[in-house]
Amino acid sequence: MNPTTVAPITAAEPPTAPSRTDFLSKSTPRWCPGCGCFGVLKSLTATYAGLGMPRERLVTISGIGCTSRLPYYTATYGFHTLHGRAPTVALGVKLANPELSVWVISGDGDALAIGANHTLHLLRRNPDIKMLLLNNQIYGLTKGQASPTSPRGMVTRSTPYGVPDTPINPVNLALAAGATFVARVADTDGAMMEEVFAAAHAHRGVAFVEVMLNCVTFHDGAYAKITDHETRDDYALAMRPGQPLLYGKQQRKALVADHGRILALPLGDAEAVPEQALRHDPQSADTGLAQQLALMGPPDLPCALGIFRQVQAPVYGLDPKHDQEA
């Protein structure tokens, strides 16, 4: 089994069910050939088709960036807003009409540089809005400047001597903001994207999904270790609720905690998964382990993929004047 791919939802759909293409607009996407956005568009529209919601009740809202062009290519209602501001518009849409399914599409510059404040407050308020962060670790649309997720030292057009600061880890930040659903997927894994997007939709409250996105033009190969066929077994770990955290060829490496630090434990060929192996619990009240998993990554440890956290909390926008829950 491929650790970065999880089984898609396979329930057979009646022949009259809407298909993915019903959710694609007539505009031809204008991304660079090979851009990771194509895969996201595909998975998102497939997810839309599977929600059982009519097209008009879906709203796709974005900021500005290559990735933020996505609403033009869906056949839902859409709003291509301002750089960094999609969460504010989305919240207004959702509060004005709670019946709508509202999706925010954002880039790493959009959501974490100019728009990080809105992202933070969206996540802490917990409205029933879904936000995808398409993280290519670069400003694509403006042709290659450093973003808040660009790794330290990276040379870009705006950092000829290397990025001088520590990147934001989007999943860690979302957890600290108190987001009730937090996940990470790779643009190459359509099946996992669809599964996670559908789970985000099903979640009652805010959902934040980081998509590791490859920008072929300005930062190609940023996630190669995690997504390439040759290396992904060793650098991608698909988390499963209740299951031990395993990865590697034949899942022969387990994560264990040692004095609060996470380590990889190689397992023998036939060795049973030991007791001490960490198990994934996205419903834990405590975000400590989730934050540690979020920070993990190559070269020492694998990058964790899947749902980090999924808990219930009062949903914002169910009017507090009328609904005692919120």
């Binding site: 709003f79 301002l82 501001r85 919240l91 207004g92 004005a96 009409n97 009328h322």
Partner: protein
Amino acid sequence: MNPADTAVDLPDPDLIQVQTMDEITVKFAGDSGDGIQLAGQKFALLASAAGETVRTLPDYPAEIRSPAGSLGGVSGFQVRTGSAGIYTAGDRIDLLVAMNPAALRSNLGAVKANGIIILDESAFTAANLAKADFSGNPLEDGSLRDYRVFPVPIGKLTRGALKSLGLSNKQTSRSRNFFALGLICWLFPRPPAAVEAWIAQRFAATPELAKANHLAFHAGWSYGETAEYFVNPVRVAVDPQRRTAGVYRFVTGNAALARGLVQSARRAGLSLFLGGYPITPATEVMQEIGRYRDPDVRMFQAEDEIAAIGSAIGAAFAGALGATSTSGPGLSLMGEFLNLAVIAELPLVVIDVQRAGPSTGIPTKSEQADLLQALHGRHGESPLPVLATAMPADCFDTVVEASRIALRYMTPVVVLSDLSLAGSAEVWREPTLDELPEFTVHRAAASADFQPYRRDPETLARPWAVPGDPGMEHVVGGLEKAIDSGAVCYQPENHAAMVQLRHDKVAGIAREYPASTVHGDADARLLLLGWGSSFGPIREATDQLRRHGHSVACLHLRHLNPLPRDLGELLKRHRAVLVIENNSGQLWQLLRAEYLLDLQRLNKVQGTAFRIAEIADAAASLLETLA
């Protein structure tokens, strides 16, 4: 003039001769902990109940509380009451109630020569005098000789009246405002029973306080009756006004703005969404809306002004009447989003309750200097309608008009109010929903050839298809749009045409304005032209000048963009036009550019409204030069 030699010695016999007055301006002033606002408001309400026309102006201390008794901590409430023709809370004070030396010092300059000052002599301690920067005691050093001063030991008398309750000094001193109110109510006179009933009701939750305030009020009243100071109560002469049946309320400008938004949405059959962020002096608009329990009236306190307007735009996209309220600094942050609303053509009302700028400026002072920003504070060619409010109750009507325009023309609209209207109040009968103008809402009906930017031929408004409406799914955004289809379009001629269309749509709004009405003779030699809160003083100055036989008229603009179509012609009818603004000449500049007319101007940028006399004097001198 007959000033008392020393104000302290004897009650001035003049008082008797002024017992019946056309109008009177009373100011309550004291420490911000002294309950001044409450006493002042009650006095105003009583006057209004007596059929008088009432104008009020509160006057808060600077934004952070200062130590008790200090000059920075003085709070005031000015009430002017009289017949129908009054429009401001008064240039100068006839009667000042000063609860401490700081209150006296801060307001003395505004008291008329020979005006009456009632003051709490118990508060004129050495410590308080020092805090108010008095070197001597004005009660003793003759410095008040130009006024008729009545020192009353309000503190001591209140303590005495409340002795039976066994309260601390601090507690009794909280009732001093009721003593003062009682005294004033005797003086005018106002029915004490009404006040006593109100005290019982208002303090029902704290019977001890109710009792204390009742006793203090009563003591004040009795003091008036027994003290030899005041020989006769004052009566204000009132033209009995016929009031239409309905609910009357004492409404501040900010409350009227909030109410106007709510009723507009209801009239249009929509829900209201206001995204806001606190800022002086606009905060109450947002807070008022937050008090509704109606699920169709929603207030969202955002993380900042950008999110506030962004959420309002989102709500408008989703089919609500979107709104936001702020002041200058907030408006400066909203430019980018306002531009998005312009190009997305969504109905949005943006309220700017102006304060003195630039930058943080003077947050507790008033100004009308955001007009050019409202017009031009965005990159590119980005036209939108701008309206201004003139009086507290007019805030309601103006916001209704703004909402009507926003929906009928599918456009953001900026409403300019200001600090001097925000907190001042007047009695007002709210129109019923039926009495409001009709609203056009361009909700689109699904059709095979639906196009999100195909315009209504009359208004040039685009149709409003909102998420949830089947068959009309489309994407809006900030990139230039193709005519009709609304698709992204970089084509040069299309861009030029869209720039023109957006311009024409806004310019076209003026077609529907009622004819401009000049107050006074249409061919007066001098026209006083204003906008916003300078309405009151301009109107009264005009009336005053006309009473003195001058050929003066006035015109007040609610619509600042587009300007009324008949305005140019109208301006040309007068020998001179004086444009009066609390800024350095922003409307004046616009009118010069528009009509190429060499207009006169009168500007005041001091954080305070015009006094009637300032305008009347300037107009009179100008008239002389015309002669």
